[in-house]
Symmetry: C2
DNA sequence: TTGCGGGATTTGTCAGACAAGCTGACAAAT
DNA sequence: ATTTGTCAGCTTGTCTGACAAATCCCGCAA
C-alpha cells in the first residue's frame, strides 16, 4: 500500500524563493530606475561604489548589473561605466509575477489577453487546416466528456486554447498568448471547480467554446472574434465574481 | 556522448554585436535548449564542466547562466545544479534583434503588431478623454504640416501612435505596442521618405490616420478598429514594396 | 584654439578559496 | 526489514585579489 498522502504539488512548494543577494540588489536598482531616481542616459554608480554602498562583493554587483542588462534597463561600456538605457525595459516585454499584481493591473493584463485572443481567433478562422480542426474537435470532445462526468477539464481547456493558437499559424502570436495565459491559470482552474459546476459557469464556458469552435469551423472570422471576445469577457466576470465572493 | 556544442574560440567570434564572452556562451546555451538538446527539467553541465569545455573563467559561465536565468530558460538550485525550466522562455516575451529576423518572421511580428494596434484603436475610441483627443489632434496637425511643407513627419507619426496608445488607457497594452513598434522604426521612416512622397504613399498614410482619428473622435470602436487594420495592412504593403524594390 | 599624449578610472576576465546546500551511500537503531 | 542518523563528495553562492582592455580627463604643446 503506497502512502495515502498524495505527493505535494510542486507548484505550491516554491513560494519563498527570493534567492540571492544579487537578485535583491538588482531589484533595488531596478526600483530606483523605475522611480526616476536615475534618468535615461544617466550613469549608474561604479561597481566599486556599489560594493561599498551595499557591502557586497564585486561578483554580486556584477551579477546584478548583468541582470539589469538582459532586462534592458542598463547598458554598459567597458571603461566608461553603466548607463540607464534610453528606453528602460523595452528590450523585452515582461509582467510582474502572477501573485504580485493588484486588481487593476490584473484587469489590464486580462484586457491585453483579450485583444490577443480575439485577433488569434479571427486568424484561426481564416487559416485553420483539417489537422487544426481535428485537434480543436478532440480538445472540445474531451472538455465535453469532462463536463458530463464531473471530471476536471482544465487540461482539455488548455489544449483547446493551444489548438486555437496553432490554427492561427503565427508562432509569435501563439507564444505571446501562451505567455499571457500563464498569468491566468487560476482563472481556468476556477472554471472547472465544483462551485462553478453548480452555478452553471462551467456549462456556460463550454457553450462559449462551442460557439468559437463552430465559427472557426465555418471559417467565419468575424464570428470567431466575437465568440472569443465574449468568452474572455465572461471569464473576466466569473473571475471577479469568485474574487469578491469572500467579502459576502 | 560527444560534445554537442563546438568549443568557443574568441578569435573566431562571429557576432561583434554580442559584446562579451558571456553573451556568446549564453547564446550558445540558449540555442542548445531551443534546439531540444536539453529537455525541460534536464540538468545542465556543471559550472566546472562548462569552464573546461569552453575554456573560459567561472565568472563568464556564471554570468551566462545568470542571463539564461533571468530569461526564464533555466533555474538553479544551490547545491543541486542548473536545470532547464519547465516552460523555457515563457518568463518574458522577447523578439530577436530587428536585423536578425527573416522575412517570414518579420511578417508574423507585423501581424502580431496589427492585432494589438486594432484592439488598441477600439479601446481608444471607447475611452478617449478630452485631453486624449487634444493630443491626437495636435500630433495629426503636425503630420499634416509636415506633409504640406515636405518636412520629415516621422516624429509626429510616432507621437500620433503614442497618443492612440495613451487614449486606450491600458499601460500594458501601450507598453507592448511600443515594444513591437520598436522593431518597425524603419517602416515608419519609410513613410516619410522622398520616394513615398512622390508615389503618394505619404498622403495615403495620412488619409488612413485621418480615418482613425475621426473614428476615435466619434467614439466608433468598430470603425476605429477597421481603420487601424487598414493602416497596418497598407504599411505592410508599402514595406514589402520598398523591400523588393532593389531587385527590380 | 586645437590636437595629442598619458595617467587615472572603469568594466571585462581570470584564478583561488570558503560557505551554504544538496545527494547518495553507509552505518546504527528500532 | 525499514527507518533514521551521519558523513563525504559535489554543486552553486559569495568573497578576495589581480591583470587586461577600453575609456575618460587633464595638461601640454603646436
Amino acid at each position: 500500500m503506497p502512502s495515502p498522502i498524495p505527493p505535494l504539488d510542486p507548484t505550491l512548494t516554491e513560494l519563498p524563493r527570493a534567492t540571492g543577494l544579487s537578485a535583491m540588489l538588482a531589484g533595488r536598482l531596478a526600483a530606483s530606475i523605475r522611480a526616476g531616481e536615475f534618468q535615461p542616459g544617466d550613469r549608474l554608480p561604479t561597481e566599486k561604489q556599489l560594493v561599498e554602498r551595499y557591502a557586497v562583493s564585486r561578483a554580486v554587483v556584477r551579477e546584478a548589473i548583468a541582470r539589469l542588462k538582459t532586462d534592458g534597463f542598463v547598458e554598459t561600456r567597458q571603461g566608461a561605466g553603466a548607463f540607464v538605457a534610453l528606453k528602460p525595459g523595452l528590450a523585452n516585454f515582461r509582467i510582474a509575477e502572477p501573485g504580485l499584481l493588484d486588481a487593476a493591473d490584473l484587469a489590464h493584463v486580462f484586457e491585453l489577453r483579450g485583444v490577443v485572443e480575439v485577433g488569434m481567433a479571427e486568424l484561426a478562422a481564416e487559416r485553420r487546416s483539417a489537422a487544426d480542426l481535428a485537434a480543436l474537435n478532440a480538445a472540445f470532445a474531451r472538455m465535453e466528456q469532462a463536463l458530463q462526468s464531473d471530471e476536471n477539464g482544465a487540461a482539455a481547456d488548455d489544449s483547446f486554447h493551444a489548438a486555437v493558437a496553432t490554427a492561427a499559424h503565427n508562432p509569435y502570436l501563439a507564444q505571446f498568448a501562451a505567455f499571457l495565459a500563464q498569468h491566468f491559470s487560476a482563472t481556468r482552474a476556477l472554471t472547472w471547480q465544483p462551485a462553478a459546476r453548480r452555478s452553471g459557469g462551467t456549462a456556460a464556458a463550454q457553450a462559449e467554446h462551442r460557439a468559437l469552435l463552430d465559427a472557426i469551423t465555418r471559417g467565419d472570422a468575424q464570428a470567431a472574434g466575437a465568440a472569443a471576445r465574449r468568452h474572455i469577457a465572461q471569464a473576466a466576470g466569473r473571475y471577479r465574481a469568485a474574487d469578491c465572493k469572500p467579502k459576502g
